[in-house]
């Protein structure tokens, strides 16, 4: 059973977006994504003040086997990153929706949120991909 959380929005690249105050969002990868990747051993996050663009790479996640891009689900400026991941990248496997968050972004185009999927849509999207 793939876990998801109702208050989140999702991209088709398997990132989740949690709306915080104003135009600020927190970004992570979904439970489905961490399971697909397997044991995560390295995270390269963007740096604070970096500009990120929706659907473009904002960092990388490496499992034992493979390197995967993290695609920004929205555009904006990075205002905070999860520094804990530097020494404990496995937090993404263990707690993808909480301790395993990646970064917080101040959105430059909040309307981009409308292009993201809600939980039901995301779960249907995953199911489609598996068939």
């Amino acid at each position: 059973m793939t876990q998801a959380t109702a208050s989140l929005l999702y991209s088709k690249e398997h990132e989740w977006v949690l709306q915080l105050d104003g135009n600020r969002v927190r970004i992570g990868i979904s439970d489905y994504a961490q399971k697909q990747l397997g044991d995560i051993v390295f995270v390269e996050n963007p740096q604070v003040d970096d500009e990120v663009t929706a659907d473009e790479s904002m960092g990388t996640i490496e499992s034992v086997k493979a390197v995967s891009e993290i695609y920004a689900p929205v555009s904006g400026t990075v205002v905070r990153v999860n520094e804990e991941l530097e020494d404990a990248p496995e937090a993404i496997n263990e707690y993808p929706f909480s301790k395993g968050w990646l970064a917080e972004v101040e959105m430059s185009s909040p309307e981009e949120l409308e292009t993201l999927l809600n939980e039901d849509e995301y779960l249907a999207f995953i199911k489609e991909g598996e068939e």
Partner: protein, 371 residues
């Protein structure tokens, strides 16, 4: 799970699902990359024991009066040194010294040998072998589809396997084997003390149809000792820590066995000529220009196959052949084919990781050695 049905399958394919395998396309084969987690499986093999389906590996039977003479001209090691029931690691080269494949030669009888080759190379190797076999009195048979292979690896491997057989496994030394062995009622198993993990253990060769039964029996026998099914992901991290070459990465048609650091399997002084001998002698006499070195990335990043390696002064000196975050050492390690003047242990260098030059240093190998 949506795995392409055109992929080749081993006799165990239908069993993977029951053990939670994640199946991937591995060079045209549908094989389990992991069952539980690569890190967990890796740790299990280092401390207890793991069971691997490696039935995708190829097997060629060479039989006849000229079998030994033929093989000795085909491979770099000296098969005349083998006793019956002994195995040898060797390479097979092109005339220019590039590598066709690395393989194990099993001497079954004086005139009968089994060659175990890499899955991705079966057709290429067999064609090559046929091409080298013009006049000899012998037969070559590709029996890859009829043979399954299971590897049980780790410190508890012998104890677990011993529960299922009458023969005394402690009498089988490293790179030795026993033939026609019964394993809990299954007949005619070749039991070989070899492996690809850096741990003690066995590789079992037998008729493919028996694979699902033997798989279950072994897991059952090993349950209380912690035996777990393991996938190819852990096999790769285990072999890399032990600095065992992987064809397509450390070895290729462009990389000689001397460059890849498996000179111990190249006998330039053996009496017989062999394909590539002159080129390899020349390589040795003029001195290698590049060689395989172990590296540890001290900056933040993991070296991966194909990444560039650069000297302290910014000169491009080679390429990473394999790399990973080492589960046993908790360090970022790799093997790199680099110019010899930079290959000595302690030499600082840099690896280009996503357009950034990250600090690394040449280290001695193997990265991991069992005590």
């Amino acid at each position: 799970m949506g795995v392409n049905t055109a992929l080749k399958q081993t006799a165990l394919f239908d069993t993977y699902g029951k053990y939670g395998a994640k199946v991937i396309d591995f060079g045209g084969w549908a094989l389990p990359v992991q069952f539980s987690s690569i890190l967990e499986e890796h740790e299990t093999v280092r401390t207890k024991a793991g069971l691997f389906d490696v039935s995708h590996m190829g097997e060629v039977l060479v039989e006849g009066k000229d079998a030994e003479r033929y093989i000795n001209r085909l491979v770099t090691n000296d098969v005349t040194k083998l006793s019956i029931n002994q195995a040898q690691y060797t390479a097979m080269c092109y005339p220019d010294g590039g590598t066709v494949d690395d393989l194990l030669v099993y001497k079954l009888e004086n005139e009968k040998f089994l060659l175990v080759i890499n899955a991705a190379n079966i057709e290429k190797d067999f064609d090559w072998m046929l091409k080298q076999a013009n006049v000899e009195e012998m037969t070559l048979q590709n029996i890859s589809n009829e043979i399954a292979q299971l590897a049980i690896q780790g410190p508890k491997a012998e104890g677990i396997l011993q529960k299922l057989t009458e023969i005394d496994l402690s009498e089988i030394g490293s790179f030795k084997f026993a033939q026609h062995i019964a394993i809990d009622g299954l007949k005619d198993v070749l039991v070989s003390r070899t492996g690809y993990t850096g741990e003690d253990g066995f590789e079992l060769y037998f008729a493919a149809a028996q694979a699902p039964v033997l798989w279950e029996k072994l897991l059952e026998a090993g349950r209380e000792k912690g035996l777990k099914p393991c996938g190819l992901g852990a096999r790769d991290t285990l072999r890399l820590e032990a600095r065992l070459a992987l064809y397509g990465q450390e070895l290729s048609s462009d990389i000689s066995p001397l460059e890849a650091g498996i000179g111990f399997a190249v006998k330039l002084k053996k009496e017989s000529d062999f394909v590539g001998k002159a080129a390899l002698i020349a390589q040795k006499e003029t001195g290698l220009k590049r060689k395989l070195a172990g590296i540890e990335v001290t900056g933040r990043g993991i070296p991966r196959h194909g990444y560039k390696v650069v000297s302290e002064t910014g000169e491009e000196i080679g390429v990473v052949t394999s790399g990973t975050q080492s589960p046993s050492l908790k360090k970022s390690i790799g093997l790199a084919l680099i110019s010899v003047e930079h290959a000595e242990a302690g030499t600082p260098l840099k690896v280009e990781i996503r357009n950034k030059l990250i600090d690394a240093v040449v280290v001695k190998t193997p990265f991991y050695k069992r005590v």
